[in-house]
């Protein structure tokens, strides 16, 4: 089985704060990590390989420093890492990103493609399904369990608002995964050694045969017009006194507001 996992290097958004005076993001000391959902996709890829044999390749599109994320994936046990890097990719929205990744996947070849359900910086959840569309293969989003991987087919559980669906698909297929799917493994010592030595394969726009007008800013139908800080409201009542007095004051307010 040829398995490709698409990953993204992101700032750890749990650590990002807004400077209230300048309304700008404070990024100092914010670590870059593999998008957390993508680590579950890597784990899923490794588990499928353990069952069926084959090879797991991680792919990312990004600046040269995204290599760190790829080496981390190798330390978890993936066989091969590919970095798509080219100035022509700059300014890509989800459309152009998905197009570029799809061209690379075509170039490498895959039976199963795995992505995290979304990246924690953009939170769009669009790139996975868009890749599947460009490749003209089926996709299933929000996978919480893989029930079966057999010749030419897969059965998975898709998380929905009210429960889950059991869905069957032919191969090749693209899956986007949620955290409930698995617990990503830690890097082994052997993995860390391999990560240090591994050669990261670099591919440019020309290498993957991508059409220039579909790349980067030119290939992106959406544009960011501006960014701003979210509003926060300021009127509030903090109760004083003993625990019991505070609770009584709260109950009084709620009764006054006809909430009880």
């Amino acid at each position: 089985m040829r398995i490709i996992v698409c990953i993204k290097q992101v700032p750890d958004t749990a650590e990002v704060r807004i400077n209230p005076e300048t309304n700008t993001l404070i990024r100092d000391g914010v670590p870059s990590i593999i998008n957390p959902y993508d680590t579950h996709a890597i784990e899923a890829g490794l588990q499928i390989k353990e069952k069926t044999g084959g090879k797991v390749t991680v792919v990312t599109m990004g600046p040269p420093q995204a290599e760190t994320a790829l080496r981390e994936a190798i330390s978890m046990g993936v066989d091969e890492a590919v970095l798509l890097t080219d100035r022509a990719f700059a300014g890509s929205d989800t459309w152009a990103t998905a197009y570029t990744l799809a061209k690379a996947i075509e170039h490498i070849g895959a039976d199963v493609i795995l992505c995290g359900k979304q990246a924690i910086d953009g939170d769009t959840a669009q790139v996975g399904p868009e890749i599947a569309e460009f490749l003209d293969i089926p996709h299933i989003a929000y996978i919480r369990k893989i029930d079966e991987v057999a010749d030419g087919r897969m059965v998975v559980q898709r998380l929905m608002d009210d429960g889950y669906d059991v869905v069957e698909s032919s191969l090749p297929v693209l899956l986007t995964v949620v955290r409930e799917l698995n617990v990503p493994r830690m890097s082994s010592l052997k993995g860390k050694m391999a990560a240090k030595k591994a050669e990261i394969k670099k591919l440019s726009a020309a290498d993957i045969g991508a059409a220039e007008e579909s790349l980067g800013l030119k290939g992106s139908p959406t544009q960011v017009r501006n960014i701003f800080a979210p509003e926060v409201k300021k009127d509030r009542k903090i109760f004083e006194g003993t625990a019991e007095e505070k609770v009584d004051a709260l109950i009084k307010e709620l009764v006054g507001q006809k909430c009880l």
Binding site: L25, I120, R158, M160, N226, A229, A243
Partner: protein, 395 residues
């Protein structure tokens, strides 16, 4: 378009570096330089005290704008029941259409003709309805095929869908196929009246910033919209409209839904419909803390929510999660217990009418957005609150 730095004007003050949400500005020879990760958000333009940063438009940027007319709403159903977000989208779509002088059409796959009539009463002028077997259960390919085909035939200007598991899964396929701009999980929509462009506002970076997104050249402009943020329009029993039947001929699916499992919990997890939500975070310390919240929720007839921290710890299943990566809720009362109030959580609950915060740490940011705050140990406060609420209700 490109963002450039005038090296003669740049004094190397580094103000711009802090302003960049994408970490795309570096110092080179004591001057600012924009790197290739630039997303062209223009945040740095207004920050530079010297006016040294500017934008230039490339000749190839000036494309002909594509045409289209009308606002479309994809009305989602599951098991023949229309999702609440569909009515909210009709409300939002109606007000956009009024500004554009356009009509509102709904697209409904599955469900009945009676449901299509309901969409008209909620504000649609027209409903494209397909009730063929192949679209009754949700599969991405037939949904994407059918919707893409309709869009190509009728050429709407705007297409809205719910940012639900269904909308966020198949709408991207439609956008990819049509080469249309698609903005995910919008929380506000406006029309720029000069250009007729749709201004799409959405949170990013875990809700730490808001971004306004445009699709200046392509049509339709597509957006998924977060449930529970748009207001429903007026319901008019006598409203008339047209229902156009659509056939799903030659539409195939390489995926098949074998089974649909509804998960029931002893306490309602239908957070988006709840009037009262009791929610727990890291401060609950685990199952013991959640048991107390469970009792409080029981006394109030409330649903149980949780922060990402509590879900990540495995104390409570993901479907209870409120926040940027969970559900967005807007109950009458939201009680946050042991939740610090990270922006990622706050964006999912800040539209609640009354927010009650219970937290040990008086500096916790949750108090900044709270209507009422109690600084204290939830293991002491919550049981007392449960007892007194029961008394107040005469239970």
């Amino acid at each position: 378009m490109l963002i450039k730095v005038n090296r003669d004007k740049c004094t190397g003050c580094e103000s711009c570096i802090q302003s960049c949400p994408f970490d795309s500005i570096v110092m080179k020879d004591d001057k600012a330089e924009i790197t290739e990760t630039c997303q062209f958000c223009r945040a740095c333009l207004s920050v530079c005290p010297e006016g040294a940063i500017y934008e230039i438009e490339e000749a190839s940027d000036r494309k002909e704008k594509e045409e289209g007319t009308g606002v479309w709403v994809y009305a989602e159903q599951r098991d023949g029941v229309i999702a609440g977000v569909s009515f909210e989208l009709l409300g939002a779509g109606r007000s956009l259409a009024n500004k554009l002088g356009a009509e509102v059409s709904a697209v409904l796959f599955g469900a009945s003709e009676a449901d299509a009539r309901e969409l008209i009463r909620w504000g649609a002028d027209r409903v494209y309805h397909c009730d063929d077997e192949v679209v009754r259960a949700f599969n991405d390919e037939p949904y994407a095929d059918l919707l893409s085909g309709l869009i190509q035939k009728y050429r709407p200007e705007i297409v809205l869908a719910g940012a639900t598991p269904i909308g966020r899964s198949f709408i991207p396929r439609v956008a990819a196929r049509l080469k249309a701009g698609l903005t995910a999980d919008c929380t506000a929509l406006e029309i720029d009246e000069d250009s007729r462009n749709l201004l799409q506002v959405r949170p990013a970076f875990g809700g730490n910033i808001m971004a306004t997104i445009l699709c200046p050249h392509t049509r339709p402009q597509m957006a998924t919209v977060r449930p529970r943020v748009m207001k429903r329009g007026a319901y008019d029993e006598s409203r008339q409209g047209e229902i156009i039947p659509v056939k799903a001929d030659n539409i195939k699916s390489r995926t098949k839904v074998l089974e649909t499992i509804k998960e029931v919990s002893d306490i309602s997890v239908n957070l988006q419909e709840a009037n009262v939500i009791v929610s727990g975070g890291r401060g609950t310390g685990g199952e013991k803390g959640f048991k107390l919240l469970h009792e409080l929720a029981g006394a109030l007839g409330a649903s149980l929510g949780a922060s990402r921290a509590a879900v990540d710890e495995g104390w409570i299943p993901y479907r209870h999660q409120v926040g940027q990566t969970g559900k967005t809720v807007g109950p009458k009362i939201y009680i946050a217990c042991g939740i610090s109030g990270a922006v990622q959580h706050v964006v999912g609950m800040q539209s609640s009418d009354i927010i009650i915060a219970i937290n040990k740490n008086p500096e916790a940011p949750i108090f900044d957005i709270a209507t009422y705050g109690i600084v204290g140990d939830l293991f002491e406060i919550v049981p007392m609150l449960t007892k007194k609420i029961k008394e107040a209700k005469g239970l």
